[in-house]
């Protein structure tokens, strides 16, 4: 199984190596249908973390899950990643269950914090998934060099995580996910701990990497301008119960300027949508 992933190492256009569900729309890599996530509460009250979520994510697109805390955006990402199981509904990732997709190592995850192993150098942190996937030694080195170059950390290859800045640590996390050569990259508020300037730089880098590697990216954020800046589509979610309130196409050419009127009008449109949410009792 994993050999299929291993063999897929040219960074050209990604062909999905695992059969796409014929019933799904052409190029759909993730299909989410009628997904509910319900937590039983102490007093018999159920918490609807997600209610009736339907979403198709297309091949190669950059899609953001945007919303305030409690809207279930991270829950949805964790369901796709098989870190949580939905109460009901169906999720297909590359036409198979999330569990199977995880077993096939078809996606890489970047967490909110870098989650580096402090006893491993930068180089060996990136190597971690490759060791587990039993990638041959020589190819490990090639892939690590390639990813280090991509995230601009070649000079820091032999440092330990605590010797790096927060932004650099997060880049290592991204390089580690990309080294698996997954067709799908799941990112859970990866830059939310960074300051504004670092975040902008990381966003630019991420877009550059996304263009080169042509992966499908699912990006969770609570930052409206970040979502508009990065995404092909923004999935706007709202809380109580967590649900998808709208899906907005961002048809602005890249590189996008945050100061352009088109950018601002989209930003405002999404923002207005949230105002109702916050004024609810």
């Amino acid at each position: 199984m994993s050999s299929a992933v291993v063999d897929q190492h040219n960074p050209g256009p990604v062909q999905t190596p695992f059969g796409i569900d014929p019933s799904s729309p052409i190029g759909s890599v993730i299909r989410i249908q009628g997904v509910n996530m319900v937590y039983p509460g102490r007093d018999g009250h159920e918490t609807h973390a997600l209610r009736e979520v339907n979403l198709d994510i297309r091949q190669g697109e950059f899609i953001s899950l945007l919303g305030p805390s409690g809207c279930g955006k991270t829950t949805l990402l964790r369901i796709i990643a098989d870190l949580l199981e939905p109460t009901s509904g169906e999720v297909l990732v590359f036409g198979v269950t999330p569990r199977q997709a995880r077993m096939n190592r078809q996606f890489g995850i970047v967490f909110q914090s870098p989650v580096l192993y402090e006893w491993r150098t930068v180089r060996n942190n990136i190597r971690l998934p490759l060791e587990i996937m039993k990638v041959p030694k020589a190819e490990q080195e090639d892939r690590i060099d390639q990813q280090l170059d991509l995230v601009g950390l070649t000079k820091f290859a032999n440092r330990y995580p605590h010797q790096l800045s927060g932004g650099m640590q997060q880049r290592v996390g991204i390089a580690r996910a990309l080294a698996m050569k997954p067709a799908l990259l799941l990112m859970d508020e990866p830059f939310s701990a960074s300051d504004e300037f670092t975040r902008e730089k990381l966003n630019e880098d991420l877009l550059r990497i996304w263009k080169i590697s042509q992966k499908t990216v699912v990006f969770v954020t609570h930052n409206i301008s970040e979502a508009v800046y990065l995404s092909d589509r923004v999935v706007v979610m709202s809380p109580h119960p967590g649900r998808v309130s709208s899906v907005i196409d961002v048809d602005l050419p890249r590189p996008r300027s945050q100061e352009s009127p088109e950018f601002f009008s989209l930003y405002t449109r999404i923002r207005r949508g949230f105002e109702g949410v916050y004024h609810q009792p």
Binding site: A81, R105, I109, V115, Y117, W119, L128, M133, H162
Partner: protein
Amino acid sequence: MKTNLWGVGLVWLVAVALAWEWGAHLLAVEFHDPMAGSKLPYLHAVVSTMVENSGVLFEAAEVTFTQAAIGFAMGGLIGYVLAILMSVSRTVERIAFPYLIVSQMIPVLGLAPIVFNLVRDMNASRMVIAAYITFFPVAANTLAGFKSVDDEKRTLMHSYAAGRTTTYLKLMMPFALPPLFAGLKIAAPLSVTASILVDMLGSKNGIGVKLLYALYGGNMDIFWASVVTSALLGVASYLAVLGAEKLVVPWETASGPGDGR
């Protein structure tokens, strides 16, 4: 920074030596204490006795230290395996851990003769007692280390579809190395003490025997020389573990911005 630490260490050493000499001087000259020689002899006198008897003392120390080291290694290994078993299975932990604590309530002074009667061999007794002293701090610290692995680090392994063995080898065991060494550092001098104690319970050789004979014979010079030698053995065992830690846990000591973990 490094040279600074050495400097501080040197200053302390000199200060302690001076305080010792001065204390001995006070007892012998100022207070005219007739027992000054046994209460606190001059440091230089102790050192010269050690040098004069270095051959005998070294031979005795070697016997005690070697058995302690072997017992320490065995105890460390047993403690580590116990920690793994207890972290793999809650049931094993629930059953075993209370007994491990009880085991530490038994005074070694009472245990040593029992062990000797069982194994009927002085060297084996030293090892068993040293191992007995060692395994608990190692098991307890390592288990605590395994339990404190962050959820996110585990989730990462889960996302790679890593099996249990892989997770232990690549995450749990390296993560728990610093607490393992914390346990080893506690246990190392204790295992030397345990070995000396067994010496005293009727052994024919070892530094504990020298200590005991000197005490009974009223040979205070040799007694103090043995005491200092014993202390040096404890320090040596600690430094040996510290050195091993520097080799095995390099990320803790690597300098750079930030403060490690």
